[in-house]
């Protein structure tokens, strides 16, 4: 197990270095990164000043070395716009995104997994049709459009839910979410819900036809016992990895929803930074979200290895 964890850890570190490489050279891809950052009618002096300030007049390899050295300690330089360290801005916005993504994941799991179980264990029933429909909806409705429609219906027409902004509730010094998270989280979580339904349904259907389930029936075990002991247990292991991957997707994929709902998180910060051509901040966000996703994947793999001995001894 230790060897398995160690090799996955090394792999993750390698990937993060690859990420830094991509992030750094992407800005150079256009030839002159300064031209991306200044306005079209900037004077040559202004351009030179920015070049000086950002250190773009140094040799590329020195810049890259500096960039890596900074990145390792979480320093991506200052945001051009906010005149603050980019990492501080990210940490300030992180809680909002975590709240949104976690709520979205919980909503998706609460709807998706039971629906997939019901559908998979009663093929051809109404539940099955519902599950298949939900899986298809999750895949075919873009979350940015869904958010717009939910705002029209639930915020504008019915007035049930707030559509814009984040409100929190302080309780014993802990910041808690309020109903302002419901609408954006549902829109964000729809795709994940669809994936969970599809996956749970097909896993249950597959496991139901396994020999050990037939054996369990022939032993005279009850439906309940078979579901809990044999089917759910076997479906749960691969489900871990889907959930891990989806959480990373939710944390890093909230740019549309946060922009639409004015949710003060990382996605919103990214859209803002791109609008301001604030590329130091964009780089920092790209690296930070990669770090989050890679770490989540690593943790998922470890959990998977712990739960399923075939994985850790397999390779």
């Amino acid at each position: 197990m230790q060897r398995y964890i160690l090799s996955r850890l090394l792999q993750s570190i390698l990937i993060l270095f690859g990420v830094l490489f991509i992030i750094f050279f992407m800005l150079q891809a256009t030839g002159d990164p300064v031209s991306l950052m200044v306005s079209r009618n900037a004077s040559p002096e202004e351009i030179e000043a920015v070049r000086e300030e950002m250190g773009f007049n140094r040799p590329l390899i020195v810049q890259f070395g500096d960039f890596i050295a900074g990145a390792v300690v979480g320093d991506f330089g200052d945001s051009l716009r906010h005149k603050q360290p980019a990492m501080d801005l990210i940490l300030e916005r992180l809680p909002a995104t975590v709240e949104l993504a976690t709520t979205a994941l919980l909503m998706a799991m609460l709807i998706g997994i039971p629906l997939g179980l019901l559908g998979g264990s009663n093929p051809g029933s109404v539940w099955d049709s519902l599950a298949r429909g939900a899986g298809l909806i999750g895949q075919t409705i873009p979350n940015f459009w869904l958010a717009l429609i939910l705002i029209i219906v639930f915020a504008v027409k019915l007035g049930w839910l707030p559509a814009f902004g984040r409100e929190t509730w302080q309780f014993l010094g802990i910041t808690l979410p309020t109903r302002s998270v419901i609408l954006p989280a549902f829109a964000l979580g729809l795709f994940t819900m669809g994936q969970l339904v599809r996956f749970t349904r097909s896993a249950v259907m597959e496991i139901r036809s396994e020999d050990f389930v037939r054996t369990a029936y022939s032993k005279g075990l009850s439906d309940r016992q078979i579901y809990i002991r044999h089917i759910l247990r076997n479906a749960a292991i691969p489900l871990i990895s889907i959930i891990g991957v989806q959480f990373g997707y939710l944390l890093s994929g909230s740019i549309y929803i946060e922009t639409i709902c004015s949710w003060p998180g990382l996605g919103n910060l990214l859209a803002e930074a791109i609008g301001n051509r604030d590329f130091a901040l964009v780089q920092a966000i790209a690296f930070f979200t990669s770090l989050v996703v890679v770490t989540l994947n690593l943790l998922t793999d470890i959990a998977y290895g712990l739960a399923d001995p075939r994985i850790r001894y397999g390779d």
Partner: protein, 310 residues
């Protein structure tokens, strides 16, 4: 058709349709489609979009860029102030929404088609090399693939789009290149599986060369999984293109595209909700069609799945 020839040669008949000509095969596929109505429905929906893209100049009631401020912000025809000359209403500048949606399908389909073409063909070649060469080459290629697949996709696509600037070619290139790993992984996996299969083994034993094995035995069998993935990836690219357009990072604002229309619609969301509603419905319609068809295709092209189903 290689597998058909081969099954004749070895006398092992794997599947009944494998032994027939192209015409008979098409009839068979048609019958399969007819049996599974959702696949047929998906195909019809997708073809509707394709036809509206091709026939846009003839079926649009208005030119997509024509502004008419007197007719601006008109609701769809079934609403109280609606009007039959603008069936889905108009936007803030009085441009006809239906016409813009019809023209917008051109952008979506172009991005999806060429994006998948680039990603699919490069992914196929790289995947074949990776699967066949093995060893260090395979390790390096798969390292790159795993790196790209580990990135938060949306963040990077937005990042690249912001650097490259708004143009159709850029958007196609972004999706074409970032999607290569998906096709590499599928191709490589299939190659590894097929290499160990009985018919490749027997081809080798009768002295078939490497190229002949690739072209006669591996490639024809790769077609099914690749076409299926291409369907899903194309619908994903159409989504992502609209998303980029929505953020103002896809084709220039003057081009009628579903994403650009959504971006406009968002500004008027609470007062003129139809401007954002209809382009979104077009995206859902296209995505639904392609997913229904793709699901059917996956089952139809995989004989194992087909037997399981009925």
């Amino acid at each position: 058709m290689a597998d058909a020839v081969q099954s004749k040669g070895t006398g092992l008949l794997v599947d009944q349709e494998a032994d027939q000509g192209l015409g008979a095969r098409l009839v068979y596929v048609g019958r399969l489609l007819w049996r599974d109505k959702s696949g047929l429905l998906g195909l019809i929906m997708f073809l509707t979009v394709v036809f509206s893209a091709v026939l846009a100049p003839w079926i649009s009631p208005h030119p997509p860029l024509k502004q008419d401020l007197r007719a601006a912000k008109r609701p769809p025809m079934w609403a109280a102030k609606g009007d039959i000359s603008h069936p889905l209403g108009t936007d803030n500048l009085g441009r006809d929404l239906l016409s813009r949606i019809i023209y917008g399908s051109r952008v979506s389909l172009t991005v999806g088609f060429f994006g998948v073409l680039i990603a699919g063909s490069l992914g196929l070649v790289i995947g074949l090399v990776s699967g066949y060469a093995g060893g260090r080459t395979d390790n390096i290629i798969m390292g790159g693939v795993n790196l790209i697949l580990a990135l938060p996709y949306l963040v990077f696509v937005v990042f690249i789009a912001a650097i490259l600037g708004r143009s159709l070619i850029n958007v196609i290139l972004i999706f074409g290149f970032t999607d290569i790993p998906i096709f590499v992984r599928i191709t490589r996996g299939e190659v590894l599986r097929l290499r160990e299969s009985g018919f490749v083994e027997s081809a080798k034993s009768i002295g078939a060369g490497r190229l002949r094995i690739i072209f006669d035995h591996i490639l024809p069998n790769l077609l099914g999984p690749l076409i299926t993935i291409a369907t899903f990836e194309m619908s994903a690219m159409i989504f992502y293109e609209a998303g980029l357009g929505f953020l103002g990072l896809s084709v220039p604002p003057s081009v009628p595209s579903w994403g650009n229309m959504l971006a406009t619609g968002r500004k008027y969301l609470t007062i003129y909700p139809w401007i954002a509603t209809f382009p979104g419905l077009a995206i859902v319609f296209t995505g639904l069609g392609m997913n229904l068809f793709g699901d059917w295709l996956r089952d139809a092209l995989d004989p194992r799945m087909r037997r399981m189903k009925r």
